[in-house]
Amino acid sequence: MRTKYRLGVDAGGTFTDFVLADDTGNVRLFKALSTPDDPTKAIENGLALMSEELGTEPSKIIAECDLCINGTTVGLNALIQHKGAKTGLICTAGHEDSLEIRLGHKEDGYRYDAEYPPAEMLVPRYLRRGVRERVLSNGEVRTALHEEDVRAACELFLKEGIETVAISFVWSVLNQAHERRAAEIVREMMPNTFLTVGSELYPQVREYTRTSTAVTNSYLGPTLKKYVDSVDRYFAEHGARYPVRYFQSNGGLAIGQAMTDRSVYAINSGPASAPQAGLFVSAPFGKNNVITVDMGGTSFDITLTKDANTNLNKNIDFLRYRIGVPMIQVETLGAGGGSIGWIDEMGLLQVGPQSAGADPGPACYDQGGTEPTVTDANVVLGYVNPGSLLGGRMTLDKDKAHAAIKQRIANPLGISVERAAYGMFTIVNNNMVNGIRRVSVERGYDPRDFVLVAAGGAGAAHITALAREIGIDTVLVPKLASGLCAFGQIISNVKYNYMASAPLRLEGAEAFSRINKLFVEIEAQGVEHLEADGFERDRIEIGRSMDMRYVGQVHECTVGIGKFEIDGDTVDQVKDAFHQRHEQLYTYSERNNAVEVVNIESTIYGRVDKPKPPSLGTGVGADYAIKSRRPMIFSPDGEAVEGPVYDGGMLGAGDEIAGPAVIEETTTTIVIDPGWRARLHESGSYVLTHDT
């Protein structure tokens, strides 16, 4: 690092986390309440905390940063609350309704639910205007573009006060001419209107996905622009030397302009940085298969990284909207400290997805909440110290926790409060385990081959129990767990995805040369983009993948491939990678059958130097850090054992603790089950292992 600091600002729903890394390897974590109406306010408050601790002015800190990096939920919130721009869609006549037909499907889980509402339309039907034009599946024009139809649509949009426009035509991925011409007309008639062109944003086969992605992009564009402008301005005014970098849902950084033009890349920005952080904290142990679990107040986010490559989602329903562009696969469950335990109509104990939120919060917060939450269970189980949450800035009422669990769970089930609390703990863990299976087993990975990394304020209390359930024998809990995403952002690279569609059988010189040519084209674009962004050629890296399937299949497997020219010899490497992946996922492959390609993609990275890793001093033995003992419950029958409680701040590198025990850090509590032990590593993570 050429300058003194690097700053990460991760704006979440409740808290904005700040991570400040300095050039000695010191990493500090700060938290300020988020200010959704004016996000720069929270940034200002966070910087005030920092300047208090460091004894310098905020502008000095900013001026000494090599990079200021921001993860944001503004896009996500606008989509959740349907507060995006008023958007119009121009599409192929006859296909105006793909957005509302949504492939004719009602989401699983609601099959017989008479009250589950249809998804709210981001563009209502009367603002989805079909124009006469048609390209066929071989790229040929069947019907020329009727420009007068485009003009008529623009006139309607002008009359209706439309703020943004999306254009998406059938098969535009094979022939962009019509979309480009329509875009010219829109720009001419509506010069200052935010415009998304489907084949430019997401050049992949699947009309519904492309249209929905383009519409979402236009819907969110102005919101992102307003946000980015104000954050950019704030940092510029405070002496930032370089433009602010923003974190995208694809797991990489982008400059503000890219974040605005391609706002759909911003919709799940926050949790997407967990894999980078997970890899970073696992690196000292030589591990690059990592599952991260981030448990906060209301949700539980899971990511998976295999051989340093993170699971990506393409073409998924996100908040009920189909999104094509690659996003780090984040499996989000309604399982957090505030998740409520309840008895369903069948008499079964359930936990979540409803949450007591921050207000009234868990019963033990004593703010009027009467529903028993996971945090209440953790208090009754002796895991969480009622006296010292957030370093003693908050106290909890154990009696209230006890009473809530007794009334809502223990009495109806006819069991003791302790058993009920352990039951809630078990059920929420089980929900989380099933979520972990979805990102691992369903993707063809055995979770036992992975290291589990705990993040979020609440994750570490559950982590050994989760690991035991899944069969993982190594767990890492960084001391920074509760701000891990912000940390992940400051160690990430700039990353852009470039795509092309190439529906063809993987046979013959013509097919090979078409694919090779497409890769070269999209990569040239990407390199140009990054060079303009200030990256020298030797800092630019390229990764390739292809979506492939057997002829006749409809769903593809995305397979990473090396950067080489595909020809009669090397094609076998490509096919082989596909067969292997298919076997891994679905228990079999069909090596004698023809393989076809649907889409290709290159990921272009601009390498950013990493800050110096943290390094802790050697400890003097864990016993020194014991601050108290209390009863803790680790058994389904509700029996308690007396366990030691350690002050994490007093522990040094090499200190070792055997479970049952609890380690209290300022912003998180680590529960060590019996049979597990924790050792603090110099890199700042606790290594939890199972005694064999």
């Binding site: 006859g94 296909h95 105006e96 309704d97 793909s98 509302e100 037909i101 492939l103 004719g104 499907h105 009602k106 699983d108 889980g109 099959r111 017989y112 639910d113 008479a114 009250e115 249809p118 209502p124 039907r125 009367y126 599946s137 059938v170 098969w171 086969v205 699947r206 009309e207 519904y208 369903d344 109509e345 069948m346 008499g347 079964l348 104990l349 359930q350 089930l413 069991i415 352990y422 039951g423 078990t426 059920i427 089980n430 929900n431 099933n434 299976r437 087993v441 369903e442 529906p503 057997y550 006749g552 299949q553 409809v554 769903h555 679905y586 228990t587 079999y588 069909e590 059958n593 389904p636």
Partner: protein, 586 residues
């Protein structure tokens, strides 16, 4: 709650069973060839215990799951003691409780420590099953033998050894062999994934604990259904619905369901006319799906779904040889939609009589098409059911408008129609439109969902276009007083455009469509709920603005007079007059 079962373990085991069923589904969907599987989700996975009773029903297609219950019992009974580790069974024949022959089902017995403990089951709609007409639907068939290959229960793996001879016999009789073979592989993957997970569950909790928990899950479902039946006043209720004449000339046919509630028990008796020499007869297995779906449309119970739900329900399908309890050689291929949806409606109507405020409106019935022909791009045959063509509107509920494009009733939102580009890539066709249809949703205080119009043209070779289903004259049923005056736009139909002429077709036909000609399949909307004249005016105007309701429809169906189609200004006086007139008339 039974003393033996730990409530926490119970919840955990339930979660594992749900996850297992889901993983079976993912494995099938991602690998299948046929778009009917992988786009349309026209398949179902289930888990049975050793009895065999269905212990886990997923969120898949309702038409399959009811019939799986008797089918599993029938197939297991056929082999009796001759079931061994490593066996895999295959079956499609309705005479052995199958639904329709094109739905082919794979059953894998799961053994644990030498004992048969579970069955993992995967059933799916293939693209072809042999016979004279591609894709199986043959409106000209007068016997089941003219509809395709009947597969009684057979072993395709015997003690772990694949029976290539049996598979070859089957595949030799099917079109597009490569796709069919791929789909059998996909089904095999699904039942194997299920087996793998169940063994892991048993390793962890042991057989006794798992069995006790499953027993409790079934008892819970039973209690839930019983308590619901208990809440319905004792009595005898009747529902009657009509299968319209879809061009066979045999006339309309009424199906009656008589539901008797006594305490917490329910018996359902079906009365249907004698079977006909047309493909709308339903054998007993399939009829169970229709009856159970009618019950679930009323019950709307939350999961877990298992056979316990139906313990308190006894069903009498009526005498053998009737359209809801057909016997050989009745043709039947259309049965999963017609008459099943009408059977479902009859049962649902009986419950509506019993509990008027609890029942949603009927969904649009399937009237769709299959296409087949030659693909010159790859010089090979193609054949498929067009799932996009059967996506109808959902019925309105006591709480809200019906979903657009979510049906048909027999699938209840579980299908997906497939992306236009993927379909055009897979088949040599141009899809000229896939749209919602103005005035197609049934009128009501809550409007029924819109149906869809799917229009196709072959690229360079003639295409065989085969239609099936009904609902082209009788619209989806409204509930709680909903009624539409404009009926024509709410029913299904087919338009064939050739040589500047448009032919309207309301029957089941096999047509040849040439390049330059077009066929459009229109699928009905869902029924409305409640008096349409009580629908708030602004909601009607919003529908007019979005062309879901025409200006004429607003007046006719909703009593709302829109003065100016441009500004959408409402003539309040005329509207009030119209609406109060109707009130007086009633």
């Amino acid at each position: 709650m039974s003393r033996k079962v730990d409530p926490i373990t119970l919840s955990v085991i339930r979660g594992v069973l749900e996850t297992t069923q889901r993983e079976m589904t993912v494995a099938l969907e991602k690998t299948a060839r046929s778009s009917v599987f992988n786009l349309a989700h026209d398949y179902s996975n289930a888990i049975f215990n050793h009895v065999p009773e269905m212990i886990m029903q997923g969120q898949d297609i309702p038409i399959h799951l009811g019939s799986l219950i008797p089918a599993m019992k029938c197939v297991a009974g056929y082999f009796g003691d001759d079931i061994h580790p490593g066996d895999v069974l295959l079956h499609n024949d309705p005479a052995y409780m199958g639904s329709h022959m094109i739905d082919t089902c794979m059953y894998k017995p799961v053994f644990y420590k030498g004992e048969l403990v579970f069955w993992t089951v995967c059933k799916g709609h293939l693209t072809d099953i042999g016979g004279p007409v591609p894709a199986g639907y043959n409106p000209a068939a007068t016997e089941i033998y003219a509809e395709g290959l009947r597969i009684p229960p057979v072993k395709i793996f015997d003690r772990g050894v694949k029976r290539y001879d049996v598979m070859n016999l089957i595949l030799t009789n099917m079109r597009a062999r490569r796709d069919q073979e791929g789909d059998f592989n996909a089904q095999l993957g699904a039942v194997q994934v299920g087996e793998r997970n169940l063994i892991a569950l048993l390793d962890k909790y042991g057989l006794d604990e798992v069995r006790a928990s499953i027993g409790e899950l079934m008892a819970m479902a039973d209690r839930q259904m019983r308590s619901l039946m208990d809440s319905v006043p004792d009595g005898v209720y009747e529902g009657k619905a009509v299968v319209e004449d879809a061009g066979h000339g045999l006339g309309d046919m009424a199906i009656t369901a008589t539901v008797t509630i006594e305490g917490d028990a329910c018996s359902i008796k079906i009365n249907s006319p004698p079977q006909v020499p047309y493909f709308i007869n339903s054998y007993e297995g399939n009829s169970y799906s229709g009856v159970y779906l009618g019950v679930m449309m009323f019950a709307q119970l939350p999961p877990p779904y298992n056979e316990g739900l139906y313990r308190c329900i006894s069903v009498d399908m009526g005498p053998k040889g009737t359209i809801c309890n057909a016997k050989e050689p009745a043709p039947h291929m259309n049965c999963t939609t017609t008459p099943m949806e009408t059977l479902t409606d009859a049962v649902r109507l009986a419950f509506e009589e019993a509990a008027p405020d609890h029942v949603s409106a009927g969904w649009g019935h399937a009237n769709g098409c299959n296409i087949a022909g030659w693909d010159t791009r790859n010089d090979e045959e193609y054949v498929t059911m067009v799932l996009a063509s059967i996506i109808s509107g959902a019925g309105a509920t006591p709480q809200q408008d019906g979903w657009h494009a979510c049906g048909p009733e027999c699938c209840f939102g579980a299908l997906t129609s497939g992306d236009v580009e993927l379909l055009e890539y897979s088949y040599p066709i141009i899809i000229h439109g896939y749209s919602l249809m103005t005035d197609s949703g049934g009128a009501g205080k809550f409007r029924g969902g819109s149906g869809t119009r799917w229009e196709v043209e072959p690229i360079d070779k003639p295409m065989t276009f085969i239609t099936f289903g009904e609902g082209r004259r009788i619209p989806a049923m409204g509930a709680a007083g909903a009624k539409s005056r404009m009926v024509e736009p709410k029913v299904g139909r087919i338009e064939i455009s050739r040589g500047g002429r448009v032919d309207l077709i309301k029957t089941n036909v096999i047509e040849t469509i040439n390049p330059g000609e077009r066929a459009a399949n229109m699928n009905p909307g869902g029924g409305g709920y409640g008096n349409p004249f009580a629908r708030p005016i602004d909601k009607v105007v919003w529908d007019v603005r979005n062309r879901l309701v025409s200006v004429e429809g607003a007046r006719e169906d909703y009593g709302v007079v829109v003065e100016d189609p441009e500004t959408l200004k409402v003539d309040m006086a005329a509207t009030e007059a119209l609406r109060s007139q109707q009130a007086i008339a009633e």
